[in-house]
């Protein structure tokens, strides 16, 4: 297929969102195949370094998903993550990364339907933005 297929680096917390993705798969729910999933213990594990690294490697989008606030397996991780993501999203959009490239969600392990639906929404949003234009590290631009 010649049509461009986005690459979306996806960080899913082990206890909730990864379980939802697993359940979606087992239940044969259809969702776009653009997601490269990385399992992390908790959404709080996702450091801005990871998000920047994904963008540097040419990811067209980054999606981070964790447990609902109040349901974090480690009790408070996603609360800290929520504040961190709010500030990082603000900074990334401020320097010119298009809104929608980096997105977040809370999906519990039972919500396989929500996972498939959110995946479709994220994929559509990134397809509309087009391939990533900024922040890609190719060969060093040096003399």
């Amino acid at each position: 297929m010649d049509e461009w297929q986005p690459k979306i680096t996806t960080f899913l917390c082990n206890w909730c969102s990864y379980g939802a993705a697993d359940l979606a798969g087992v239940s044969r729910f259809q969702y776009p195949p653009f997601f490269r999933i990385i399992r992390v213990p908790c959404s709080a594990r996702v450091s801005p370094k990871f998000i920047l690294a994904a963008l540097r490697h040419g990811a067209d989008g980054v999606w981070i998903s964790g447990c609902h606030p109040g349901d974090c397996h480690y009790l408070e991780g996603n609360y800290y993550a929520r504040r961190k993501f709010a500030m990082l999203k603000g900074l990334l959009e401020h320097i010119g990364i298009e809104p929608g490239r980096v997105s977040f969600s809370w999906i519990s392990s039972a919500e396989a339907t929500k996972f498939a639906e959110t995946a479709k929404i994220v994929a559509d949003e990134i397809k509309a933005l087009g391939p990533a234009k900024h922040f890609i590290k190719k060969r060093a631009e040096v003399a």
């Binding site: 800290y80 504040r83 709010a86 500030m87 900074l91 010119g96 890609i136």
Partner: protein, 316 residues
Amino acid sequence: MQEYTEKIRETAKRLLTEGKVDVFIGYRKGTVPMMCEPVLISDPDKTGLLHWDSNCALNLCNYLTKRTDRIGIIANGCNSRNIVTHIIENQIKREQLYILGIPCTGMIDPRAVKRVVKFREIHGVEEKDGRFIVKGDGFEEAFDKKELLQKNCATCLHRNPVLYDELLGDKVPEQDGIEPFRDVKKIEAMGSDDKWGFFTRMISSCIRCYACRNACPLCYCTTCFVDEAQPQWVGKSTDPTDTMTFHILRAFHCAGRCTDCGACERACPMGINVRQFTKKLNKDALELFGWEAGLNDGQRPPLDVYKTDDNNDFIR
């Protein structure tokens, strides 16, 4: 502002002679116009070196990190807020410090001075009765302080020190009618491509000297992320993507902790307005979490705490 020089010298001498502090950290007059050099004095007879004027713009709190001795230090508004942040972050203990608070009317920006005399060579800048007399090769011109103020001082809302053991002068009235985030809002109004163009152009002259990082009191990590090798998050060359990565990740490490002291912009040898990154984060910390760094030594910084009803709108 020079009236503080005598008071600083007297107090430093007294503190050292009485053995209340082991060392005193202040500034000495620079060897080139519009510069002051941070200095550490342990001999009470050398306190005559100490000096204070509108060029004392490097943040002395930078020199406090992990010291174990008893230190006398001078601090204006922003520097005192950085001391509070240092205490909260366990980089120094309150008991170690004897702080001389200085109500500050702002620092002048050498770049602004050079621009206003159209880049003719400056031999000296003298502060007299609130006016700044700039002398150079065949010229002498006088300016008001507000024409020459450093950008962060022009929008400063905390000119008086927030933490001190002794206040060296009467508190100055805080500025009003200031819109501290006007330049941030201007950028926020741009489209994504224009924003990217703005920031790419702004850092295009960066030579990765790390003067901004090293002048910042908040950057005290023993291993900075730029020096991490496994994995390597950012390359060491002047590649534009690597340079952008360095700047935004460094700014993010200061999220919610930056007091806008301007040391980073002052230190940059290429005159880059690096505060454009941290100012956005300061605005967000204020609007999202009601937080301004270094004003309260009892509260944890915003990314260190949470509320169960924090803003959730941006999350699906």
